[in-house]
């Protein structure tokens, strides 16, 4: 909360105006965005608690597919925090926890692969001068550890269960995101072809949640042997 908070400078409009605004904010996400400019914040103060609660519910439903709405939610937060700190504190906390930036999942996974499989150490090392046998021995270790990571935190299955090399037919309307085509691709499906790679699908993701205050950028802490 900065000292030069522009909120203080605005005179509040009447009750019904605010009610109307609140209802419009519910219905119109773009209006919500515009309304969240600092000089329009204070008038909504008294109605914020109810408004915010409802916005939280929307967030839960629409979190993944439409990222823009999520961003709007983020901006909604700030006035709530500033104006009605006490009444909405709990609600705000929940929102903040779900707002972790998407790269955190990637950093968490990298951290686990390093911890259990020395994955980052292996890839960061310059292997050009080593013999195949040495690289191979280390690769076995990394394989063992990282394989356990995949087994623990994911359930992976092939996209296509046919044997690689088998003939199959892609019908019209096949899932283009799940199947990538190469070779003699002309006209419209049905297309006959051979399965070159079965693909991988994550059936389940079991990455545990980490509290928001954990610094995800520490992929692996430095180790100090205390003697």
């Amino acid at each position: 909360m900065s000292a030069s908070d522009p909120v203080v400078d605005v005179a509040p409009p009447g009750f019904f105006a605010r009610l109307g605004l609140a209802l419009r904010v519910l219905m119109d996400a773009m209006l919500a965005r515009r309304l969240l400019l600092p000089d329009a914040v204070e008038p909504k103060a008294l109605l914020e608690p109810k408004v915010v609660e409802k916005i939280v519910e929307v967030e839960k439903i629409v979190e993944k597919p439409v990222e823009k709405i999520v961003e709007v939610e983020k901006i909604v937060e700030k006035p709530v925090e500033k104006i009605v700190e006490k009444t909405i504190e709990k609600v705000v906390e929940k929102i903040v926890e779900k707002q972790r930036p998407p790269e955190e999942g990637a950093l968490h996974l990298l951290s686990i692969l390093q911890r259990d499989g020395r994955f980052v150490d292996f890839l960061q090392e310059d292997i050009t001068s080593f013999k195949d046998a040495d690289v191979g021995a280390a690769a076995r270790l990394v394989h063992q550890g990282c394989k356990k990571v995949l087994a623990t935190y994911f359930v992976l299955e092939p996209v296509r269960t046919e044997e690689e090399g088998a003939r199959l037919t892609l019908e019209p309307g096949f899932d283009k995101a799940a199947i990538s085509v190469a070779g003699d691709v002309k006209g419209e499906p049905p297309w006959k072809g051979t399965l070159a790679h079965g693909g991988w699908r994550a059936k389940e993701i079991k990455l545990p949640e980490r509290p928001a205050f954990v610094d995800a950028r520490i992929v692996a802490p430095a180790e100090v042997e205390v003697r």
């Binding site: 040495d134 270790l141 990394v142 063992q144 042997e225």
Partner: protein, 591 residues
Amino acid sequence: MATATFAIGIDLGTTNTALGAVRLDDDKATPKVFDLPQVTAAHETMTRPLLPSFLYQPASSELPDGALALPWDKARAFAVGAFARDRAAAVPGRVIASAKSWLSHAGVDRRAPILPFGASADDDVPKLSPVDVQARILAHLREAWDAAHPEAPLAAQQVVLTVPASFDAVARSLTEEAAQKAGLPQLVLLEEPQAALYAWIATHGDGSPTPWRKQVKPGDQILVVDIGGGTTDFSLIAVADDGAGNLSLERRAVGDHILLGGDNMDLALAYGVRQRLADDGREIDDWQLRALTHSCRAAKEAMLEDPTLQESTVVIPGRGSKLIGGSIKSTLTRAQLEQVVVEGFFPVVDKDARPAQNKRAGLQTLGLPYAHDAGITRHLAAFLKGQAPTAILYNGGVTRSALLRERIKTIVASWCATPPVELQGADLDLAVAAGAAAYARVRGANKGLRIKGGTARAYYVGIEKSELAVPGIAPRTDAVCIAPKGMEEGAEAVIPTELGLVVGEPATFRFFSSTTREGDVAGAAFDVARAGDAVVEVAPIETTLPGEPGLLVPVTLRSRVTEIGTLELFAQETASGRQHKLEFQIRGDDG
């Protein structure tokens, strides 16, 4: 107190703990293992079927805040489970392992805060007693269960807790004490080999394609071989006819608690590789030895699983970020594996072989009494003493290897007229928990098959014979049987001889047990000095009679086996009939 809805089996193992549960009202259901939430890394909690029996107490500045938080306790400052086990390698001075093995170690005060063992008094690591550590592990189970079943708290369920068959009355009593401390006031103790057998029976139920009643017949003897990470236990269970044409099971014999297991094998292999590296001029430090032990375990398992594999690479990765550049490579050949693991731990011996005796040196080293002889088959021969089992049931992680199971079976077969059959058991890590839950249900409903057996040992009180005093010669001490072997729960026994106890000061008796002596009834007496290895001294028992100091009160000594499965001892005044409990004095040699 709510009524119980679940039958619960808890396998409080030396290396891993598991909890099995089954609904009491569902006869058809098989016990399922309850996945236990535990801290697996800083700020990370996952559920796993096994909870490693390790307790980690970090220094206050060691980990970031909230690193050991659990869903039901965000401020927790210690950890039980996978993270504790992983940190044991990095900070060995702050992690307590194998607390269970200390419960049966008579040479220390098991209620005193002595763990982590070897930590000096001014270390900042909080010290705990072995009983406390077991209580913490059980408390973690209770909290995890209660969080998932708020309407059916663990304290109100039918709980069965397993103990090694080799645990004597003191160790069992201390286990019960730990459970009370953990908030589990009502429970029953069950021997682990019996639990494994209950699991086998549940897997081969009457409706299954291979019902157990068709696999054994009266007169059969089932040998249960349980080889875990750190311990080996044997039991012999006989199959009989109960007189009405139904099969009944009776536990006939238990072995000693042998501190020998898979971890010893991995360490033996690692030492061998370390020696070969040292011969080449490469020394390795403690961290590298631990990494080497892990690598040897992986190589051992790979070669035991695939008989065609002739060698396996063993790598000690570089400690720093130079994974390959800093690494040391070696190989483990099949010949080395055979020599160290197969020949070293499972030598071909005949049925008269006996393990090398633990030398009773004047100065005993402190610490756990690890087995001096690593030959598990020699310990097995000593246990069987010529008896011929008809079937073998395996339990414990080491027996996962088909090669080792076959090896043990072949050696035992060489001691018998007819080779024993291997019973197909359930999951080797989870059988004890599932079997204990099956037993809890059977017991709770008071129907179904129960393995008979009563106490695994006979117990004796040491009474000095009053003889003419001869200078320089200690008076003879008789071991008088106070609890015959095989006493069932609820049974009582009494030593008919009257003794005089002095009032107002502690009266202490030496206390002995035997797993091998047969046929001693209550009151049977013999010279302790002549009994040899058959009789083992347990902690002394003592009581203080209240009243006018100096008076001599006539008492008789009696014993009772409780519902829980522990042994209670009393001195009963002949005149008034009042009973005074004899407590186990486990304070150690200075008490």
